[in-house]
């Protein structure tokens, strides 16, 4: 089937305004009759729940943490983009649009990206009004910096904690609506199924993580804003609880999963120290503004203290390979380059899995004080984890899984192919194509939540009768029974392996075969290993305790069970996409100089997969991508 993204036509500058005008409106007096289920209250879901509540809709919102203030958006460090052009350095909506399309390696929809660039400026204003303490200069103006891959300074930031401050802004708006009674918040509540009645999304089944109660919540529309899935690699920069569960359950109920193979590996993370490791910590790529990446030219220098490696014996490999972008080359390029140096035997630190990020030059030029002011909290974090002082000795970095560009397929209105199911933020696939630029995820989450969904969901709701659902429907009962049965099945196994053991094994298979460099052989190997691990899980896992209480093993087991199914789809998508683009690098498809080689003739499309049963061949649907405004060209950062 050929999918239609329902993008508006006409000159791109007018598309969003025209579309907004064309959308049907819900009568203000009727809004409270419509109930909206919002799963996830990170930047996307929190902003959306607050805005929809304020419009007068009746919102029920859910998160798995003990408070909406803790969603993983909180961990974003570097900043958020907007096309304000305050520094007068040539930025514009068009340039932000252009950079995002090109950065995504021509695998995103033009209209969606244009809209994102257009509303980016409103986001900054909104956050300022909420009291987000963005960095400012002495005259009181908002400060900007340039960030990974951009040649203009369009990134707004709040020290090294931009995500935290933006989320606390959205959380405060949400708190105001909770107080006003328009939003009802359910903390420590995990969505475990989507309820679809006669082909339309009408509710969710959840587990209360404190009491263990399993129950359904019904509504006129369901929104998923449940974040990304890179914890499928086990070790990643995501929080421990991030999972694919909400998306996967929706996929199993009919929602198409788009481009699951587009995963981003972030170039600057603190290297792993041992098998005990439970997660990896990202160091904001803003560090690359003032730090230079290098490895020793000679293998025998790798074991030396970095200060003993002479200047001439250092390979500043990004500056060498990409003279015009240098240390600011986009993430996918910087990550692969780091891996190449380490694979070449010139990595540093434990296991040779690391490259240096050196601040000595900047400290000489600007003084330690300035560097401390810019990145103090990052240096502090680095020292806590590694016990090394980054001011005195170059930091060691290694790439780690970080972000999911893929996600549930949505049309221009952010609605999936299942009517009534909307998907927001990192959970959808929409704007980043095959690679996301730095500081663009926060922008997307807030764009979707504050400025897109409040309009587009109205267009859907205006066409349906409110309250057209019932808890007594057979589908609701079945969903609750299915969730209970799955949990009981897991408890009954009483096997020998812990959930973590199987999860770690999955992570290893994924990182080695489906990580930064993928080949026909490695992907086929993954597709052989994953079902074995799934089989092992469903015959040999051990979960103690009971379901009717707080049980963190059960929570974890459910998430891992979903990753064990999803991993197969991710690998299959990677195998099917016979090209290299953005974060998806197939070793068979590269230029003579090792750069990614796209295949526009055969793969200039979104791959949206339909579920056909666990272990069965999923069905591929394609949405062709058209480029009318940006010339489809080879992406070059040289």
């Amino acid at each position: 089937m050929i999918l239609d993204g329902k993008c508006p036509t006409g000159p791109i500058e007018t598309t969003w305004d025209k579309h907004r005008f064309d959308l049907k409106l819900v009568n203000p007096a009727n809004k409270r009759k419509y109930k909206i289920i919002m799963v996830g209250t990170g930047l996307a879901g929190g902003a959306a729940a607050a805005s929809l509540g304020e419009l007068g809709y009746n919102v029920e919102a859910f998160c798995y943490q003990d408070s909406p203030r803790r969603a993983h958006s909180i961990a974003a460090q570097g900043g958020i983009n907007a096309a304000k052009n305050y520094p007068n350095d040539g930025d514009s909506i068009y340039r932000l649009f252009y950079d995002t399309i090109k950065g995504g390696d021509f695998r995103a929809r033009e209209a969606d990206v244009w809209r994102l660039a257009q509303v980016s400026n409103n986001i900054i204003d909104q956050c300022v009004a909420q009291g987000v303490p963005f960095a400012r200069d002495y005259a009181g103006y908002l400060d900007n910096r340039s960030f990974g891959g951009a040649q203009v300074s369009r990134t707004f930031f709040a020290r090294g904690q931009t995500g935290q401050q933006l989320l606390l802004g959205a959380y405060s708006a949400l708190s105001r609506q909770i107080k006003a009674g328009t939003v009802k918040m359910f903390n420590r509540t995990e969505m475990l199924d989507l309820i679809v009645i006669d082909g339309v999304a009408k509710g969710i089944t959840v587990r209360d993580m404190v009491t263990g109660e399993i129950r359904a919540h019904m509504g006129d529309a369901v929104c998923l804003a449940t974040g990304g899935y890179v914890n499928v690699f086990y070790l990643s920069t995501n929080a421990m609880g991030c999972s694919v569960t909400a998306n996967w359950k929706a996929h199993k109920k009919g929602a198409y999963f788009a481009n699951p193979c587009y995963t981003q590996i972030h170039p600057t993370c603190i290297p792993q120290t041992g098998d005990h490791q439970s997660k990896l910590t990202l160091m904001s790529e803003s560090l690359r503004n003032d730090g230079r990446c290098w490895v020793p030219k000679k293998k025998e220098d790798c074991g030396k203290h970095p200060s003993e490696v002479a200047e001439d014996d250092r390979d500043y490999y990004l500056e060498r390979k990409y003279p015009s972008f240098g240390n600011l080359a986009p993430r996918d390029i910087a990550s692969r380059a780091a891996k190449e140096q380490c694979d070449d035997g010139r990595g540093v630190g434990p296991g040779g899995r690391g490259v240096y990020l050196d601040f000595a030059g900047s400290i000489n030029r600007l003084g330690e004080h300035t560097i401390k002011e810019r990145y103090g909290n990052l240096f502090e974090m680095y020292e806590k984890i590694t016990d090394e002082n980054g001011y005195k000795r170059p930091m060691r970095m290694y790439p780690a899984p970080h972000y999911a560009m893929g996600g549930l397929w949505v049309d221009y209105n952010l609605m999936s192919n299942v009517p009534g199911l909307f998907v927001l933020g990192e959970a959808n696939f929409s704007v980043h194509g095959a690679n996301r630029l730095g500081a663009s995820a926060l922008m997307q989450g807030l764009a979707d939540g504050y400025f897109v969904i409040p309009y587009t969901i109205g267009g859907y709701l205006a066409g349906i009768k409110p309250g057209d659902y019932s808890l007594d429907h057979a589908e609701v009962k079945k969903s609750i029974e299915d969730v209970k049965a799955t949990n009981n099945k897991m408890f009954a196994l009483k096997g020998k392996k812990t959930v973590s053991e199987i999860y770690r094994a999955l992570g290893k298979v994924m990182w080695e075969n489906v990580g930064m460099a993928r080949s026909d052989e490695s992907l086929k190997n993954a597709l052989k290993e994953i079902p074995k691990l799934r089989e092992e899980f469903w015959t040999n896992v051990n979960i103690s305790g009971e379901g009717g209480e707080m049980n963190q093993q059960l929570e974890n087991a459910g998430r891992v069970a979903d990753f064990l199914e999803f991993a197969e789809l991710l690998s299959k998508d990677a195998l099917t996409r016979e090209e290299s683009c953005g974060g998806h690098f197939r070793v068979e498809h590269q230029m003579p100089d090792g750069e990614a080689m796209r295949n526009d003739a055969d793969f200039c499309h979104v791959a949206a997969w339909e579920f056909k049963g666990v272990g069965n061949e999923p069905e591929l649907h394609k949405e062709p991508l058209k480029f009318d405004n940006v010339h489809l060209a080879v992406r070059s950062y040289k």
Binding site: A47, A50, S51, E54, Q65, D66, S67, R69, R70, H72, I74, A75, Y86, D125, Q126, C127, V128, A129, Q130, G131, P133, F134, A135, R136, A139, G140, Y141, L142, A158, Q164, S172, A173, S175, R176, K179, N187, V210, A239, M240, G241, T273, H276, S278, K279, T281, G303, G349, K384, D387, Y450, F451, P454, T498, S500, I543, S544, E549, M550, Q552, Q553
Partner: protein, 254 residues
């Protein structure tokens, strides 16, 4: 890690176990073996949990998520001190290199009247959300907002607001306070918004509503022990409590 010791250590843990909110709890003793100094404190607890699961026992329940010191979810009192007492460090960022072979380590939940225990080390901190809901926001609508540079905020004021906004809402200040007061937490939000032109308009209403909620939620009074600041992993300063008091007096005078 070239210059690091690879010697592992053996530790004895004394961990608070409590089946549910109404059950009585007690300290149980566990051995933590072959612990690497490069492990984080929570990874050490993970290891102990793995051995418990293998024995068919119930692992220790504890809150955590980001494991990088920013979400505020982790909450353990280690050897009597919330987050373990290392300067500006949450318990998830505490590393085992600050312990030595043979140590006894006591691990307990946050203890405060307003934070009932849910299970083991997990407590209910929803009272902190209630305080924010009472007024920890500016009442701006989505959309229709003037340009972000329309009101200038000189750097010192923006920095002051950011210092206050560092709070991660973990509740260590409450757990560290002999009165179980949430004054530091509340003052950080009051001070942040009072320092910004966007928040000034509602400053009086806000400080009244938030301090009212503080009492209603069962938090104790502040009697200037300053244990809160000592417990705070983000270095939130007690000067914000003074700011709250000033805002409170100003509101009374209005």
């Amino acid at each position: 890690m070239s210059d690091h010791t690879t010697n592992t250590m053996n530790l004895t843990l004394h961990v608070w176990r409590q089946k549910g909110p109404n059950a009585t709890g007690k300290l149980e003793t566990y051995e933590a073996k072959h612990i690497s100094p490069d492990m984080s404190f929570l990874e050490m607890v993970d290891e102990v949990n793995e051995t418990l699961i293998k024995k068919g026992a119930d692992p220790i329940a504890f809150d955590h998520d980001c494991r990088e010191g920013i979400c505020g979810m982790c909450s353990q009192v280690v050897n009597g001190v919330p987050h373990g007492g290392q300067d500006r460090t949450t318990v998830c960022q505490l590393h085992m290199r600050s312990f030595k072979d043979g140590d006894n380590i006591f691990i307990e939940p946050w203890r405060a009247r307003a934070f009932p225990v849910i299970k083991d080390l997990v407590v209910d901190r929803s009272a902190l959300d209630t305080i924010i809901q009472a007024g920890g926001y500016t009442s701006c609508h989505t959309g229709g907002i003037p340009d972000g540079n329309a009101l200038l905020i000189p750097k010192p004021e923006a920095d002051y607001a950011m210092d206050a906004a560092e709070c991660i809402g973990c509740g260590a200040c409450v757990a560290g306070c002999p009165n179980g007061s949430a004054m530091l937490f509340t003052s950080a939000k009051v001070a942040q918004l009072a320092a910004l032109p966007q928040g000034r308009a509602e400053a009086a209403v806000r400080v009244n509503a938030m301090t009212e909620a503080l009492k209603d939620c069962g938090f104790g009074n502040c009697t200037n022990h300053y244990e809160c600041q000592a417990s705070c992993p983000k270095g939130v300063d007690v000067k914000f409590i003074a700011k709250l008091n000033r805002e409170y007096l100003k509101a009374l005078a209005n």
